[in-house]
Symmetry: C2
Subunit: 298 residues, 2 copies
């Protein structure tokens, strides 16, 4: 382990990634009682930082978690962490737990919440391949709790279903809840049917993805009609295009579900997906270009 | 903080409770990716240790988590921890995460699982009062994931609903899933109707409580008929007795739900609950008596 692998932050100080900094009684460690965000950094600049910070606040409110610090301080901390690493392409992960305190289900009365963070260089090769060539996936029962719109640390169902997909020799799984396609294990899912973009409504059953929201804006620019509506696995299987949206993988076509080819139109030049991918990259270039660095995050 | 508060164990060594021992990248800390047990210690001896260890193994298997060590070693470690504290009445908490490794949903290939533990003296006054006088509770929607039989570290719904009960001025909440009473936030629930003991079947919707299983055995001794069947909130409201079963609180009557008195027969001498409480205490006395100490855990 050395600092080119990245750095961590916990209990108010920057440390090496492998440094023990958390006692056993962190509520994240024992209950998954907390929330998190993952931010992508391009050219040394965080992309869509305001949006991630706003969602972090919403997640905190949803589980009654006090932030204990102004969002501006958190923003400053992220920039400080990036300065320390000097990484150009990176991922910032940060989480907030309900604090370090003797284990008890009840919320602690006077315990400060606990912020921790890691910053690591981005290794994008696998995701680049997924964006270009597409991903094979499986359908899986959506076994998660009711409030999937909270970006919480209770991710056991997500990791179990992701692993089931990997064990099946594919990249990921798409959740199906009572006949409705909800989302991927760490992405939102959209289909294009007869030129119309369809994605699950941003209700409590899916995470309200930052990339999903950005895509909805880009679709306006493209003049592609949008329906935020529930759709079924059968709808997905016969859609013209199928793709996932997430901070880390960005926009990536799904080309096979349970061994069946799907959405192959997405791979063609001029597809909704290809146009979105290009616009998304243009957004990144604009927002994270070195020459507009001073304006980023304003 | 001093050692009379208890001790912790993590990464292979005993430490003070407040000692930082875990890096940010523990999968328990970031995903709640792990399992746990809580064991009650009476007269310096763990009660129903074999049963807890067997459930720990079942939980591990359910989420594909390698134990990495023989159960005998874990048992030895618990006795070592108890010896170190010298506590007579205590709680042992231990958990196993899928290890300390760079954050990624996929299961790590060659990362050892990570065992941590705390041992604390038992403060029983509040639970003693609950056992004697009963608890007021509320009904709450069961918002949890599908596999509640796994004693996992994904406890955010449990802590949120517990806190909602406390905010409502009562002790706890009882989950209701699609018109069926499942269990409490950290206990199983039973009712007695016309002399018959009824509790939710041990399927994937409830934790298979160690105390619940012990009570089923005691009911055989008492000659009380048992039905492991689903029942509704309406069934509970008109039951003769209502009570919770858990390692820490043991058996405690529920005397009010959503402001309505329930199950008041449970408080009478000779009720099924009172007879079970007496037998349960006799079991503890037998299993944890100092003179049979050497035979405990065999």
């Amino acid at each position: 382990m050395n600092s080119t692998d990245g750095i961590a932050y916990a209990r108010g100080r920057f440390v090496n990634l492998d440094e023990p900094v958390i006692p056993v009684d962190d509520r994240a460690h024992q209950f998954g009682d907390g929330i998190y965000e993952v931010i992508r950094v391009y050219h040394g600049r965080p992309f869509l930082l305001d949006e991630h910070l706003a969602r972090f606040e919403r997640s905190a409110a949803a589980i009654g978690l006090r932030l204990d610090r102004p969002m501006d301080e958190l923003r400053e901390l992220i920039f400080t962490a990036l300065d320390r690493t000097g990484f150009s392409d990176a991922q910032v992960y940060f989480q907030l737990s309900r604090g370090i305190v003797k284990r008890d289900h009840a919320y602690p009365a006077d315990t400060p919440s606990h912020l921790s963070m890691t910053v690591r260089p981005m290794v994008d090769a696998r995701f680049h391949a997924a964006r270009t060539n597409g991903q094979r996936v499986i359908f899986a029962e959506d076994i998660r709790w009711k409030y999937c719109y909270v970006k919480s640390l209770n991710l056991l169902p997500n990791v179990m279903v992701k692993q089931r997909a990997l064990d099946a020799g594919v990249a990921d799984a798409i959740f199906v809840s009572n006949g409705v396609v909800t989302e991927g294990t760490s992405s939102n899912v959209a289909i294009v049917v007869d030129g119309v973009f369809v994605t699950h409504p941003a209700d409590e059953r899916i995470l309200h993805g930052i990339t999903r929201a950005k895509v909805l804006g880009l679709l306006l620019q493209l003049g592609v009609p949008v329906r935020e509506e529930k759709f079924s696995p059968a709808d997905l299987l016969k859609a013209d295009e199928v793709f996932t949206m997430s901070t880390v993988v960005e926009l990536a076509p799904v080309i096979e579900v349970d061994g069946q080819p799907v959405g192959l139109q997405a791979l063609r030049e001029g597809s909704v997906l290809r146009r979105l991918q290009r616009l998304y990259r243009e957004e990144i270039a604009r927002a994270c270009a070195p020459d507009v660095a001073d304006a980023v995050g304003e």
